[in-house]
Amino acid sequence: MADLSVDLAGVRLRNPFLLASGIWGESGDSLGGAWKAGAGGVITKSIGRLPRPGYPNPTIESLERWGFLNAMGLPNPGIEEYPKEIETARATGATVIGSVFGADAAEFVDVAERMERTGVVALELNLSCPHTEGLGSEIGQDPAEVEAITRAVRERVRVPVIVKITPNTADPVGLARAAERGGAAAISAINTVRALAIDVHLRRPTLSHGLGGLSGPAIKPIGLACVWQIREALTIPIVGVGGVMTAEDALEYVMAGACAVEVGTAVAFEGIGVFGRLVESLGRLLDELGFESVRSAQGAAHGSEARAPMPARRRRPPRSR
């Protein structure tokens, strides 16, 4: 059977399927449960400096098979309380990645330093949080902020720093490049896609926050395009996120250039057993297609696309591979 283990910025994962941040991530027992169910690693809920209750319900809206719309409002118990959950998770042997967020670079650094001390193998910076409560702009949409925060964290921690970028931008490659310049060891792409649902009877958005983020099958093509574009421009390792439901979905991300994927919405669709099924079916799929490992399929789709005759002026940056 094909070798499913992968290397993510120096961290060895037993398989490429990571539990996405914000799913089963509040309790150490749940994180450990996802590991026992077969995840290659688990990413914690995004943790900030202080406890946050999140927005009032409704915080989630189902769009049937398309996925979910959510605006949880970053509920989290705060970095003071959270280490004991990680301890519980690590007791199961789980490979744990700590997700952190902050309102500014100082909070990111503070939380990241304390998160590192819990024994996580890497950090994921959630750079898709609101800049100022209520304004709706995101720190993570500004390449200069992304670079500055990444650098500030990078200078203070030893574990690899993964930067999770937002798709709510015209230029995902610019964000990835900024993260790379700041010292990121890898990029996760993507977080949820800004979206809205309205109840026509009540003439109001269904989520209490109004705008939310879309996850699930509907966003897979968007995530794939981001991973593809980043791989065309940069060599930094990429974790593909968005709408991974099947082994084929994961392999699409790998062929687009990802070395691992995160799985979120699929846990609601299929239960935590989805990890075991993904692992098994990816092994079978790789065998069937003649790949001896996940690694050997990485980026396999690049270079195959039909190209129109080159216009006189170059339209895209040269590939740096």
Partner: protein
Amino acid sequence: MIRLFRTIVPVETYDQETPSTVTLRFRYPAAARPGQFVMVWIPGDDEIPMSLSYTGNPKGITVKVMGPTSRAIQHLRPGDRIGIRGPYGNAFDTSPKKILVVGGGSGAAVLAPAAEIAAAQGSRITVALGATVAPELLFEERFQRMGARVAIATDDGSKGSKGYVTEVAAELLRAESFDAVWTCGPEVMMRKVIDAAAGSRAPVVCSLERVMKCALGLCDACAIGPYHVCVDGPVFPAERIAGLRDFGRFKRESSGRLVPA
């Protein structure tokens, strides 16, 4: 795309059950079994998990008015619109022939429809019903109408025996044998019921309550040990939860922070 996720329905009736509890009835087409819950959206306020106190049609919820949202429920009137999604979670097994039902406070809300169905199928129902004071006894008449034997305890002795409903339940468990014990109420109370039934052969089943956000097994708000109350519960056999660190001791706040229950 068809959106069946949440249905906006008018409140049909609003009844004060006790000084601190109200029942709302509404028409919601999905089939439901006793023990299951729905997410109830009060537009502009919040969306909260509520066990169904009536599982037929119209369906109903019976709410203890405690937090700000349940207070908002108290201001709803017939004709006001609420959003309903679900039903979610599992249900009581109504097949046992002789059932002891132990309800404290608003716990009777989820036990009554289960007992009703079991009684209609020929099961013999005994109810140990507790409240702080006599007027707060929930669904006493409803239990009597279904033919159940009802034993009462109030904290102040204003009706039935003075003291805890768990003592009444323990007495019943010592005197007779039951095929099942169902309980819902504060977790410390349910723990006492489990202890009281330890010597009998009757399996105990508990209905749990936790903060819920997604109700879909995704967000982890309702985690207890290896379970998620929204999808693995809310009804649990005692042996699955009695040994958990959190049962009767800790709950998670909306932030996920573990606090003493």
